[in-house]
Symmetry: C2
Subunit: 266 residues, 2 copies
Amino acid sequence: MKRITRRQMLAPMGLAAGSCVLSSCLSRNMATSPGKDPKTGFPWPYAELDPDVTAERAYGDCAKGHCMYGVFAAVVVQLADKHGEPYRGFPVDMMRYGAGGTGGSGSLCGALNGSAALFGLFARSEEQTKQFISELFLWYEQKELPVFVPRKPIVDVEVALSVSNSILCHASVSRWSATSGHKAFSQPRKERCRRLTADTARKTVEILNTGFTGEYTARMESTEEDKGCMSCHTKGSELSNTRGTMSCGNCHFSLAKDHPALTPGR
Amino acid sequence: MKRITRRQMLAPMGLAAGSCVLSSCLSRNMATSPGKDPKTGFPWPYAELDPDVTAERAYGDCAKGHCMYGVFAAVVVQLADKHGEPYRGFPVDMMRYGAGGTGGSGSLCGALNGSAALFGLFARSEEQTKQFISELFLWYEQKELPVFVPRKPIVDVEVALSVSNSILCHASVSRWSATSGHKAFSQPRKERCRRLTADTARKTVEILNTGFTGEYTARMESTEEDKGCMSCHTKGSELSNTRGTMSCGNCHFSLAKDHPALTPGR
């Protein structure tokens, strides 16, 4: 019986393989994954994407499946369109769960959750995943957003910019509502979140494009105010009674009367 | 040339398929997925799991890959062990990203993020995903946890119970630290989070086991205090200046002086 190659077996089927470990599945121009487990093929390889193209795709994908899906699909479906497996087999529709800060709960911004999931899929180590997430989350907290303007707006309005000071959906939305004067369930707010999803996808791809080259440097850092809070409350500190890197002051805007004064005006 | 079946092609390769649309891949005793897209096979079918077995697995998996991975792997790898594809091909290691409230940021509890991802993968509609997430998140906010006791504890200590009043990692940890007297990066705190991950995986499987039977009823609801907040601040209300279902009072414990008095003691 004539032996057939693995490539011959798979090609005519357009087979959906979630964790393809066959070298023939992977385009030759893709980034390799040092540290990849030969049994599971994890982490998946990443191939450079165009940030502008990704942002436009995320804007459209957000309209289809909300914010987390918007970022995740813009990257994984784009890679599937270019390279096939293993990307094509990923059940991207599951990522609709992140909408509205996870099932409408208003917690972690879904666009950020989608980006973090991508870092989890592509980064070479847990430490690298954390570095990429930290860079993106600090950018999201501190920058005036959204700056993305779509070629064909779904809602053609002037979208106000705001600094969220938070990675939480409900806080980010409230801050934007206060700045723009639009309500939290208005059409302009939905347009703002689609554009913010595009911005987040662009930033995510910028991090991934440079993250594996050896030229990657983190650019963002916590504010001086947050560093002050963490110096007493997080790992290795005197109190060590919490954890995390989220900006503190957006929620803890009113400290107890007996709290030591750290920052003027608080 | 002799035609070979798809089963013959795949079996000897032990092929990892992320979105297997072949009926031969699926065990006959599995729950069907009404509304499944025949092209993508989404949503994936769910087969009933034992909550106790799942909790023990989640406790061990949390020790391997942290909280989000703990819940997600306990379900998906268990299904892969029983049914093979499409579960075997899912790159479960990506879920390590949810550790410490997503990359250590302290936002959404990773165990909850893992559960929500499972609901996104298995629920038959976005609305059902939201219902399952809401039930789980309210349970997590309002119950004294953790109640799980492992057969072979990694750290054999008495673990204090606390009510988190929050779905956020850093708030949940702080509340437990205040109750137990243990620091946020101590071994007892890590043991508490492993047990909480087990509890969350058990509750997730209880929801999934009943969620598709037509007998499912949501049991949890927001507190009267939170309903009071939402009556003015969320969808359809007078202000409509935020969104979400998270418990309010854990962060907004000190309202502005001119805020209308809604609840005695605030």
